[in-house]
Symmetry: C2
Subunit: 162 residues, 2 copies
């Protein structure tokens, strides 16, 4: 995208684009497994290699860092590794994307705040950020992680590895 | 490593080396969650980007492909995404490494067979392949996946994405 070069996924107005193909160029931060409820399945989280390297040195997400959380449906079965073992399927439910902004670049854009840009994409419509107001659509689920820059870092031990 | 150049992790005798730092340069194939038993926790599986690209074109793991399966302990709690949600911790249990060999290069080495080299590493001792005979130490757990080249590909939907 054109415009402010702090992120390749953000244009001059603060519109956030979907990082197409991220599975093949981002690194895996960690996964969550939710056995039930609306968000059931695997939540696989990805970021740039450079973001991990900076976080390991500084303990902070750098300006322009991208986080992608992919929600997939799951199947459960008995395997040689144990009973009731779950794995992700090809059924993608949605993606959440966050872009770190340490400069408060878009104060009038309702998808930016608390040091991040916030986006939600649904399968088949990755051209459209389905969130319209981060405070309404996104922030609520992140409140318990407020002290760690709104990110549930306990699920991402690779951030703290040597 | 020196020797046969089909894999940077294999020497002339077929000894398999641990792919140090793989989390930052390999791509995430998929994760498994085992809620109980000896192998409980998250099993996160990684490979080279090129291996995914070749598999998408051919439906096969290419010669020299590396698979790494990292077993981590898990914690479970209630989150805004649901109740009883699990995530991996910093507690690594072990790593499994497999190297694809389409040429049958090491017929006398007991860690090679069925088209793969097989290795197991424990934390703090990544210089030593803790497996000594793939037929005894490794193959049993893979028998149910024999028809898909011994790999549980149903957990790796990224292999079949566009």
């Amino acid at each position: 995208m054109a415009g402010d070069s702090f992120s390749p996924y953000v244009d001059e107005a603060g519109n956030i684009g979907f990082p197409e193909g991220f599975e093949l160029f981002m690194v895996h931060l960690g996964s969550w497994f939710a056995p039930e409820g609306e968000a059931s399945g695997f939540h696989d989280v990805y970021t740039e290699r450079e973001t991990v390297e900076v976080y390991r040195r500084t303990g902070k997400f750098p300006d322009g860092a991208t986080l992608v959380k992919e929600l997939r449906s799951s199947e459960t079965g008995d395997y040689t590794t144990g009973t009731g073992v779950s794995h992700a399927t090809s059924g993608i439910k949605q993606w959440f994307v966050m872009i770190k902004d340490t400069q408060g670049r878009f104060p009038k854009n309702p998808l930016w705040g608390e040091g991040w840009g916030w986006a939600l994409y649904r399968p088949g419509d990755t051209n459209k950020n389905a969130a319209t107001d981060y405070a309404v659509d996104c922030l609520g689920c992140h409140v318990p992680a407020r002290k760690t820059d709104w990110i549930y870092v306990e699920g991402y031990p690779v951030l703290n590895s040597d």
